[in-house]
């Protein structure tokens, strides 16, 4: 690990974050958007763990990323239930088709 | 020589040898190749043996002979013949398939099933990756198998495969819950997630096996065993491949080596969970016969080569225990009828989950009850006395106020000090 510094991990996490954001912005499938969210959260988690290894954050970073993983799982479960409910009503998961509410 | 020792020594040699003319990268490649060969041999063989055993046992149970034609008396070359046949077969991908995923899915399954072995100690110290969270990581890796199966089911482009994949996903994800809880029960008793330590503290006789440590762990073993049947999609929970309804389930469309990958993975994970059950509940690599155990332990501690003896002997014992459990799995498969999918889910969510929760609660409370009635936390002997050498050797005197150059972590590493701290905190109030 001598040659690998904090910056390297931050760069990977920045790539994950940006990919996630672009994914959220461009995907029209609701589940695709959720995958983008997972990428963003992973970018943040990687940041936290890297800071906990290299920075003075200590174990705080690892504990936070543990909780984030659990919270993300809960959020994904709720989001998926909502997507299914939407699908039952609309027979699609295309976010662009959600146009009943406008004004 | 034992493959693990061989692999480790080769790696050490490559790592340490400054005269080695290659640079680090080719050396790493060589080490990887050697490892792969060993692992392939090592894990391929049990699978072939188990497949043969499955046939034989099935034949006995159904009152027929099983394989007889190939390879001598018991048809012991049958699996090899099967293997040769499978390698020769054409590797087909249906037109309707999503070819990339279809081709990659078996690899995920195989990788997941086989990399779990990295964390499995075959005997004292005989483990590829020794980690404090070994058990947790092993289960985590094993749980990735489901992904490959779901993707295989989906990518095949056939509704039978899709059904099989979906059933499998639902089943495996649900059974992960009771599996996790039952696995935690021996962990609570042992006080560590490190499989090596859990195994080590079951030395010195059958009464020290964790299955006999309390009525709750005794029951927990059976729940654990039932759950592993389901999480390996073994009968009576083999809904994912239910031949009579789904043709072959998620692997309907596969042929040749890719098909055999699924089978290798299934037998590998059968073996893995059996070995895990043996370590967690059935005394790991100890014989359960206390003079023998003690003798092994004392030679390991005293003589130079004694360590090796314990390892080889322990590994054999563990393999035998695991093989027995695998045999029971096969026995059950050919004896019990298959459940319906809703019955499978009911079994899990309505029975196994509450049962495992109850057992977990009981296992947590049991030491407290014992402590108040007979004054110790286990019927036989305090578990703390049997902590492995790695934890106890070189530990400072048990006291929370140790001064000296040990770090706090070291102090904490002694479980005994935790107990002492807890007790003295209690007294302080």
């Amino acid at each position: 690990m001598e040659n690998v510094g904090l910056e390297m991990f931050l760069a990977v996490s920045a790539v994950l974050f940006v990919c996630g954001v672009v994914c959220m912005a461009t995907k029209r499938n609701a589940i695709g958007v959720l995958m983008g969210v997972e990428l963003v959260l992973n970018g943040a988690n990687l940041n936290l763990v890297a800071f906990s290894r290299y920075g003075s954050l200590g174990l705080d970073g690892q504990v936070m990323s543990l909780f984030v993983i659990v919270l993300a799982a809960a959020e994904a479960a709720a989001a998926l239930a909502i997507v299914l409910a939407f699908y039952n009503n609309h027979m699609t998961v295309d976010v662009d088709q959600a146009t009943d509410l406008q004004g | 020589m034992n493959p693990f020792l061989l692999a480790t020594s080769i790696e050490n040699w490559i790592d340490s040898a400054s005269f080695w003319p290659l640079s680090v990268l080719p050396a790493a490649v060589w080490a990887a190749i050697i490892h792969t060969t060993l692992v392939g041999l090592f894990f391929g063989l049990p699978a072939f043996v188990f497949i043969w055993a499955e046939r034989k046992v099935a034949g006995r149970i159904q009152d027929r002979l099983g394989p007889t034609r190939v390879g001598g008396r018991f048809g012991w070359l049958q699996s090899l013949a099967d293997g040769v046949k499978l390698i020769q077969k054409e590797d087909l991908a249906p037109n309707a398939a999503d070819v990339m995923l279809f081709r990659l899915a078996p690899y995920i399954v195989v990788i997941a099933a086989f990399s779990a072995f990295m964390f499995l100690p075959f005997s004292a110290g005989l483990v590829a990756v020794a980690m404090d969270a070994g058990l947790f990581i092993a289960l985590a890796v094993l749980s990735l198998e489901v992904l490959g199966i779901v993707l295989a089911g989906y990518a095949s482009g056939s509704k039978w495969s899709l059904f099989g994949g979906m059933r499998e996903a639902a089943q495996m994800v649900s059974y992960e819950v009771p599996l996790g809880i039952t696995v935690v029960i021996p962990v609570v008793v042992a006080g560590t997630l490190n499989l090596g330590e859990i195994g080590a503290l079951q030395s010195g006789g059958i009464q020290n096996w964790l299955i006999f440590s309390s009525p709750f762990t005794f029951l927990a073993f059976f729940v654990f065993f039932t759950v592993t049947l389901a999480s390996n999609k073994r009968a009576p929970f083999d809904l994912a491949e239910a031949e009579s309804e789904l043709v072959g389930g998620f692997h309907t469309e596969y042929s040749g080596m890719r098909w055999s990958f699924f089978f290798l993975a299934e037998y590998a994970s059968m073996f893995f969970v059996s070995a895990l059950g043996a370590i967690l509940f059935l005394g790991g690599w100890w014989t359960g016969f206390s003079p023998l155990d003690n003798w092994l332990l004392s030679t390991a501690q005293s003589s130079v080569g004694g360590d090796y003896l314990l390892r080889v002997f322990g590994m054999k014992i563990l393999m035998v225990k695991a093989a027995i459990l695998v045999f029971v799995q096969i026995w059950i498969r050919w004896t019990l009828p298959r459940l319906r999918i809703d019955q499978v889910m009911t079994t899990c969510l309505k029975y196994l989950v509450p049962m495992s929760c109850f057992l977990f609660l009981g296992a947590v409370i049991w030491p407290l009850v014992l402590a108040t009635t007979i004054g110790q936390t286990s019927i036989w002997s305090p578990v703390g006395d049997r902590m492995p050498r790695s934890r106890r050797s070189g530990e400072p005197e048990v006291s929370s106020e140790v001064e000296g150059d040990e770090t706090a972590m070291n102090r904490w590493n002694s479980r005994d000090s935790l107990v002492t701290v807890g007790l003295s905190t209690g007294e302080a109030e």
Partner: protein, 225 residues
Amino acid sequence: MSTVLFVIYALAASGGALAVVLSQNVVRMAFWLVISLSSVAGLFFLLGADFVGATQLLIYVGGTVVLLIFGVMLTSSGPYGTIKSQPAEVVQAGIIGMAFLALVASTVLSVNWEANEVRLAHANDHAEHGHVHEVSEPESEQGYNPEESGNTTRSLGTALLGVRFDKDLSLESEDGSNHGHTHGNHEVSAGYLLPFEIVSVHLLVVLVGAAYLARAKRRVDVENA
């Protein structure tokens, strides 16, 4: 060796993330997501966070992604639900993405992290000991490095209770009198007992909600009956 591993994992994580964005088929996206998330777990192992890595594998890859794939299968209308994007959209997204990446990377990567770390460590020493003590081991100043790097289970577990090996216990002073002003009003570093317990309530609530949405109505509507 670990550098090689880092490169492999980093490339797989970034490449997988990129493939998630570029791929048109939802299940393939899920596959690439698995690759990416598993590689992130690998990076966690490299960073000595074995427990977090295992949790990532167990919950994220083995749980959440399976859930997502499940969702895809339940909701896909065609055999392989693909979503075609317009080329213009792709270009647009690409440009915005690159700009965003440039922004984040340029700010985050240009920070002199080591200098900042030294300053913070310096200030901590001032606050805790009133003087700058000899920095004997620069490694130990660099954050949390338990001797058996990678075995974080025990320290994480005790951190949940409030006993912190990386913070309080590694302080040299035994009297504890001068902790008051370094850690705010409370005397010990953060323990995570509360989140640990309250997350369980949260999970319960969310699961009740998800189950409510997913299950059929318990009774037939009066109008329909």
